[in-house]
Amino acid sequence: MHFEFHVEGGNFSKAGSASSQLKKILKQLNVDPKVIKKVVVALYEAEVNIVAHAYQGDIFIDIDTEKIEIKLIDEGPGIENIELAMQQGYSTASSKVREMGFGAGMGLPNIKNNCDKMTISSEVGKSTTVEMITFFNN
């Protein structure tokens, strides 16, 4: 199964709508609620990252019987130092993002903790890509 969602940068009122729709889909597929929570928490953090840092982005989701693969590609400033960005507590978030309850430098580490495989790549001034894989029976 394949799903795609578009994410608008800066639009906090819509942030989380893709994650919410994926949660409904996984519930309908009778996926273990513990797995659903991990997948949607990871996606939600990544979705909020696009809203918080990028101009826009797209989410591509592929589900088969073994796993769910999610790829998020944004158009935005990119990440200069990925190793630094992965450190808990490091953040470049604006005060607006912090007012929404985010921007504490926990998003990327939280994504990593909630999926089985995570890769992140970025081209500064252009784009960031985050890929996450979660296996259903792990």
Binding site: G16, P33, K37, Y44, M100, G101, F102, A104, M106, N113
Partner: protein, 114 residues
């Protein structure tokens, strides 16, 4: 403890989920930082927060939290209430500080998650 008792203890107002006040709650977590909330794995959790915006409801939805108390006189907006109703959540508004609300509930037997 039943949510109904929580509401009485805090002299609080239910703004969504009136039909679910007999739901039981065992654990509580107080935070204004949604990224912290997203790290919590405990089920049957009551969230106490002073952050009242749509992302509070979205965070709770992703974390399988369906009971939220807004402390420090923060109000839930219509958009928040409607999103909460879609997700079968109970929303409660309380005039007390985060510290006082947490203290009352802790003293009454609501457990911390760590």
């Amino acid at each position: 403890m039943k949510i109904r008792e929580v509401v009485e203890l805090l002299n609080a107002r239910v703004v969504s989920g009136h039909e679910r006040l007999d739901n039981e709650v065992e654990y509580g977590f107080s935070s204004d930082l949604m990224s912290d909330v997203l790290t919590v794995e405990t089920d049957n959790l009551l969230l106490l927060t002073g952050l009242a915006n749509v992302q509070t409801i979205r965070t709770a939805e992703m974390s399988d939290i369906n009971k939220i108390i807004f402390v420090r006189r923060k109000k839930a907006t219509e958009e928040m209430i409607s999103l909460a109703a879609e997700n079968d959540m109970i929303l409660i508004e309380c005039d007390y500080s985060m510290f006082k609300t947490s203290g009352i509930l802790f003293k009454s037997g609501i457990k911390p998650i760590y």
